[in-house]
Amino acid sequence: MYNLIRKDLILLKKPSMMLIPALLLYLYFDFSYIWSGFLFSIVIIMSLFSYDEKSSINTLLNSLPYTRKEIVSSKYIGALLFTLIIVFTIFIGNFLFHRELTAWRDILFIVGLVMGVTSLLLPFSYQFKSKYLMTGILVLFGVYMLVINTFIKNLNDIIREFVQTMLVTQNVQFYLIVTFSIMILYACSWLLSIHIYRKKAF
């Protein structure tokens, strides 16, 4: 399994020559580092997924001495690892460029957001292939708009408020609940992806 993550690191070698400087540039110009962190992490996780998505690569990975469980698990562990690398880069960048220590809350927010979104993206991509993600997101957006227009008209405000509360609250219990929920979601997504991938034919 460790070897599969190492493989992803080798695959990332070239793209990271562009990604890391780009991220540092974003930090230098003081773009929202929460959104940059989220975006860069998701881009890395999904690019790595799409590299391995071709049926020929699935043939290779499944012919090598790995189990399907390991192949899927390496994506979930890798996702955490790459997010931590991005967060670490942000921490260093903020310190170098702006002489400030990134708030632990913000870091937790980035990691939580990436984990939450990855939990949805990976099983979807295992089931339908990542090229249908755009269609999936459009459908989801449509549903969201429908919900806002007909059922919960102030959904946008509720979400905005929720994020605000999360970033300022001192309530430890609240953090624990959110962290725990995301961890459960991530674990369920992991198991679901293993289940989907196990049945695939190449």
Partner: protein
Amino acid sequence: MENIIEFNHVQKSLGQFQLKDFSLTVKKGFVTGFIGGNGAGKSTTIKLIMNLLQPDRGSISIFGLNYAEHEKEIKQRIGFVFDENIFYEHLTLAEMKKIIKPAYTNWDEGIFKHYVEKFELPLKQKISSFSKGMMTKASLAVALSHHAELIIMDEPTSGLDPTFRRELLDVLHHIMEDEEKTIFFSTHITTDLDRIADYITFIHKGEHIFTKKSYQIEEEYAIVKGGLDLLDQETEREFIAVRKSKLGFEALTSDKTRIKTIFGDMALVEKPTLEDIMFYTKKGAEWRV
């Protein structure tokens, strides 16, 4: 004699295609050539051997082990070459090796280097620029570099020029010398098999027609040629299939001795090629439907 691969009454449906009650054994220490027309089920069988597909029914064991409990152990001992490129195209062969090498506990850098030099493979060039022949050589170099006991190849010679096909067969011949290795490869270029295969396994429309020793095929099968007057309902039934023309008939039999007793000197009995056998078996199967 030890069986390396064993299929017991395997059933697998894939869309329209079906592998029916498929049983097969591959013997240790020999080269088995796997023949059959397009869509006969060769690739499906190879995918089942590699656990890329799982059977709907029946069981498969490799080295006497099953995939459910010993997946990694089995795959450690298999080297594979596929018809298509299965490497990351934007990487170089050196980078590809870096990815594959740690997967195998028995990786032997010396052997890999040996084949890279022998096949004149560029290590620093992107895989996407490789020709079909180079691709096969690269796959083969990787397949042979971890002391695999079983080498599985899906159409390794298709799309290769004759010189390289011969070179490949020579390499295979060489690795068979230690008698510990087993090779199972599918092909539709049947002349490759005359040179190297000890056993021939023939599959048609998802059914295992036969597995025989190469010389046994020569002893049992024959192409029979003669005048149309020799044929009647009864004699026709002796053949797998018959092709008739104004000039006479040509037919395939799987019982050369019997045909010789029936027709004596009146018919011409010739050695069949594997292509003859494939052609007439297909025709015969259509007949009986």
